[in-house]
Amino acid sequence: MDNILSPDEWTALMLSLKVSTIAVGASLPLGVWVAALLARSNMPGLWIVNAIVHLPLILPPVVTGYALLLTFGRRGFIGQYLDQYLGFTFAFQWTGAALAAAVMSFPLMVRAIRLAIEAVDPKLEHAASTLGASRIEVFFTVTLPLILPGVIAGMILAFAKAMGEFGATITFVSNIPGRTQTLPSAIYSFLQVPGAELQAARLAGISVVVAVGALVISEFVARRVAKRIGGA
C-alpha cells in the first residue's frame, strides 16, 4: 500500500475509516431510538423530529457544514459552551469530521431502521409482554434482534455515506492534510487541479474498494442474520 499511497493519502484513508466508523457507531444508539420513536410513537409533534432528521438530506451539504460551523464552531452557540466548560471543540478536528459525517448520514440510518421496526409484527411484542417483559425488555429481546438486518442495512448505508461525505465536512473542519483531510476531501482537492484526474481516480478507487468491501461483508452478515430469523 505504501507505494500506492503517499503518506498524506494513507493518513487520509485511515482518517476516513476512523471518522466513518465512529460516526456510525456513535450515532447508532440515537438512530435506533429516533427510528423507534418515529415508527411507534403517536406523539403529536413527531413530524418536527422527522423533518429535522431529514434536513441534512434536503439541504446542500455545504449549508449543513456551514450550519455546523455556526453551531459547533468555537464561537458557535453550542460550541462556545463546549469549549468553555469542557475544553472540547469539534471545529477543525477529526471529531468534527465525524460529527459532520454522522449528521449527514443520520437520515439514511434512521430510515432504514425505521422501516425494519415497522415491519415487526406487534403481536410478537404483545406475546413478550404477556410473558412478563417490560417495554424496554421487549425492545431488547424481541424488537431489536428482529430488526437486526435493518440495523445493519442502516449502518452500511450510513457508513457508505460517511465514506463519501465531503461537502459538510470540508466546510466544517476544512481540509488540513493529516488532520482533517478525509479521502473525499483529498479527492476533491485533486479534482480542483487540472490534470490531477488520475490521482483523484486512484483515491476514488480506494474509497470504492473499502466501501464495497464493507458492503459485501454487511450483506453477508445481514443474510445470515435474516436466515436465522427466517428459520432453518
Binding site: 464561537r75 466546510t171 481540509n175 488540513i176 482537492s189 485533486f190 480542483q192 487541479v193 487540472p194 490534470g195
Partner: protein, 227 residues
C-alpha cells in the same frame, strides 16, 4: 507544523514548493485547499490557520476587517491572466465570440462567487459582448469544472486562468483577454494570528519568495507581483 489555507488553483505549484521546503527546513506545511470563499469563512470561524493565500482580494478584505491578519503581513503575491480556451487549436478573435458560439455554451466559473467567473464577466462587459453572451454562459462550480466542460467537448469555449489552461493538455488557449478589460487578478497573501505554528508559517511565507519557489510559480503561468 504550520497550517496554510490556499486557493485551490494553487495546488499543483504549492504542493511542489512545500515538498522542497520540507526537504530543506524539516517543517511540513499542512495546506488546505478550497475555494477562497470557503476558506475565508472558516478563518472567520476561528479556523486554526497560520497563513492564507486567497485568489481574490475581497475575501482577504473580509478577513482583514475582522482582524485575523497579523498586521503588516498582507501583500499582493501573485497575478494571473484571463484566457479564452477551446478544445480546438484555432485562434479566435474575442469579438467574434458570439458568432462562433452560436447556440452553444461557454464555460465559466460561477459568476457571483468564483473569481475567474467574476473577472470573465467584467472582461466581456468591458468588451461589450456580455449581453449577447450571457444566456449562453454555463457556470461551473470552480475553474476546474469549467475546464472539464471544455475538455470533454460539452462546451466549445471557456474562460479560465492561464495557469489552469496550462495544466490541461486537452484544451488550447485561443485568445487572451486584453489587459485592462478586467480588474487585475491578484492573489493576496497574509499571515494569520490564530495558527498553531507562527514560526514555521513565517519561514514558509519567506520561502515562497525565494527564486526557486517563484520559478516554479512562473512555470505554472503565474505572474509574481511581490518581489
Amino acid at each position: 507544523d504550520p497550517v496554510i489555507f490556499a486557493a485551490a488553483s494553487l495546488k499543483t505549484a504549492l504542493d511542489e514548493i512545500a515538498t522542497d521546503f520540507t526537504a530543506e527546513s524539516g517543517v511540513k506545511p499542512l495546506i488546505s485547499y478550497d475555494g477562497s470563499g470557503a476558506l475565508a469563512k472558516q478563518i472567520l470561524a476561528d479556523a486554526p490557520a497560520d497563513m492564507f493565500i486567497s485568489a481574490a482580494t475581497d475575501w482577504m478584505d473580509q478577513v482583514e476587517k475582522a482582524e485575523y491578519i497579523l498586521p503588516g503581513t498582507r501583500e499582493d503575491f501573485l497575478g494571473n491572466t484571463l484566457v479564452l480556451i477551446s478544445d480546438k487549436a484555432d485562434p479566435v478573435e474575442i469579438a467574434d465570440l458570439p458568432e462562433k458560439l452560436g447556440s452553444e455554451h461557454i464555460a465559466m466559473g460561477l459568476l457571483d462567487s468564483v473569481p475567474a467567473g467574476q473577472y470573465g464577466k467584467a472582461a466581456l462587459t468591458h468588451l461589450g459582448l456580455w449581453d449577447k453572451i450571457e444566456p449562453q454562459v454555463a457556470q461551473a462550480q470552480n475553474v476546474r469544472a469549467a475546464l472539464a466542460l471544455v475538455a470533454s467537448g460539452e462546451a466549445p469555449y471557456g474562460i479560465v486562468y492561464k495557469t489552469d489552461a496550462a495544466a490541461e493538455p486537452k484544451v488550447h488557449v485561443v485568445a487572451t483577454f486584453p489587459e485592462g478589460s478586467y480588474p487585475a487578478i491578484t492573489y493576496p497573501i497574509a499571515l494569520l494570528k490564530a495558527g498553531p505554528d507562527a514560526e514555521g508559517a513565517k519561514a514558509f511565507y519567506d520561502y515562497l519568495t525565494t527564486p526557486k519557489a517563484t520559478a516554479l510559480l512562473e512555470q505554472q503561468g503565474f505572474e509574481i507581483l511581490k518581489k
